[in-house]
Amino acid sequence: MTALLSVKGVTVRFGGVTALEDAGFDLQPGGLLGLLGPNGAGKTTMMRSITGVVAPQAGEVTLEGRVITKLPTHQRVRLGLGLSQQIVRPFRSMSVIDNVTLAAGHAKTLSPLAALGHRHRDAERERARELLQRVGIDEMADSEPSSLPLGMLKRLEVARALALDPKLLLLDEPLAGLNHMEAGRLADTIVALNQDGLSIILIEHNLSEVLRICQRLVVLDNGRNLAAGDPRTVMDDPAVQAAYLGSVAEREEAVHA
């Protein structure tokens, strides 16, 4: 079976610092993959290489067999990537539902001329309302994003990404900053989306939720692939344990220093 997303031998350097070196993984259609690693492992750089925010010095990213390494972000989105960013960035001048409606109108915003030729938003608004319901914030549809707590804004990010009808949803730390209950609920939503057939890559620090919901894990450390496989096998890997325990020990040292 052709992988939905394939990342091969990606190397990213920022000046003298190597953020990723020869890193990669495959995601099969319908998969829910967790991308893990201690701080500074290169997870977000990996995500940015996939989305096109960062240009790798070497390596290749393919989506459904098509090489997308040189494409700008907006074209990758048009090919089927839906992105939810680590730091929430709603359009603050628009209501919650308008944020999602704009994404739902992706067919109308393909070119300026097409956009100029269309006025009606009813169908897209309806779709946006369904998606807000799906992520559980439909009651906040007419609110301004600046009045919402972080947990709801994270859900708004997910709803907006879903409105693009993506083939692959990339979620960068969607649970960060949420309390235990909110994180559990959003994780359940992610599982439900995956069960509906959506392929998902989840970058997350919240290990317990990742282990609970992901079918497959890829672990990065110092920009390199450390381990990959089913969650139990990966977490039993001594190298993975050393990377995590090592980072915990370093953090404790830093606290005591």
């Binding site: 907006h74 989105v77 960013q85 960035r89 359009f91 603050r92 992706h106 915003t109 070119s111 006025r119």
Partner: protein, 287 residues
């Protein structure tokens, strides 16, 4: 009556010019400090065409197209930079235009172009033409604001990076705004040249760029009616009160500062705030 016709014609041209910048700065959030250059390109182009004996409608169309085409070239080169750099780049384009025109003898150089032929229309008919075009540009602006293009412009003005994450080709939309805005500025320029029938480089300098920006900002960035009102008032003020024209830059500078400091959404914002207040005090009204 002749005086009123002069005022209304000047007002109508200012409205077209201000709405043209409103497409770029008001709708799409791209600050331009050199918009008068495109007004000038339209004016010089149209004037040269009627001076060569060709008809006035062709001159207007040529000014519109040439300004839009040069706008696209400038846009391709400069719209990839961020807002504050764009302000500097467009200011550079404004000075570049002045520098080039001043050196060209066939454009009248420093002395300007005089003897621009009449449009062939009587003064009232010319005024009617200007007002009809101003109404059409107003209708287009109102339509655009409610279309999906206006929706995308809102998102680009708000956060370009997030717009890209929604699959929006930000550079193309900015270019579209720039093309439309500069072409309409060129159209306004063609009308101006055939209204005054004399043009010189100083009519399209930095002061004019700041004046038109003041109209957009004072009216309320993005608000079509606010910008029309500001353009109407600010264009006739120096004609009404002659002494103001000596202090134009000072007045517009002070206006820009005051509006940005106390009411960043301009007159439209003030009206909305007042409406909100009266609603909130009305029984059962929402805040």
């Amino acid at each position: 009556m002749a005086y009123e016709i002069t005022l209304l014609t000047a007002m109508g041209i200012a409205v077209i010019f201000a709405l043209s910048l409103n497409l770029i700065t008001g709708f799409c959030g791209q600050i331009s400090l050199g918009h008068a250059a495109f007004y000038g390109i339209g004016a010089y182009c149209a004037a040269m065409i009627t001076k060569s004996g060709l008809p006035f409608p062709l001159a207007l169309a040529a000014g519109f197209l040439l300004a839009g085409m040069i706008g696209v070239v400038v846009g391709l080169a400069s719209l990839r930079v961020r807002h504050d750099f764009l302000a500097i780049t467009t200011m550079g384009v404004g000075f570049l235009f002045l520098g080039i025109v001043r050196q060209q003898d066939f454009l009248g150089g420093e002395m300007g172009l005089s003897g621009i032929p009449s449009s062939g229309l009587s003064k009232p008919a010319f005024m009617a033409l200007v007002l009809i075009i101003a109404a059409a540009v107003t209708a287009f602006s109102l339509y655009l604001k409610r279309s999906w293009m206006g929706y995308v412009f809102d998102s680009v003005a708000d956060d370009e990076d997030t717009a890209r994450m929604l699959g929006i080709d930000v550079a193309r939309y900015k270019l579209a705004a720039f093309a439309m805005g500069t072409a309409l500025a060129g159209l306004a320029g063609g009308l101006y040249a055939h209204n005054i029938r004399f043009i010189d480089p100083d009519s399209f300098g930095f002061v004019e760029s700041i004046t038109v920006l003041a109209m957009v900002v004072v009216g309320g960035i993005g608000s079509v009616w606010g910008v029309i009102l500001a353009a109407a008032v600010l264009s006739v003020l120096p004609l009404w009160l002659q002494f103001i024209s000596d202090y134009k830059l000072l007045l517009y500078g002070a206006l820009l500062f005051t509006v940005m400091r106390f009411s960043p959404n301009g007159m439209a914002g003030m009206v909305a705030a007042l409406k909100g207040r009266s609603k909130s005090t009305a029984p059962g009204g929402k805040a």
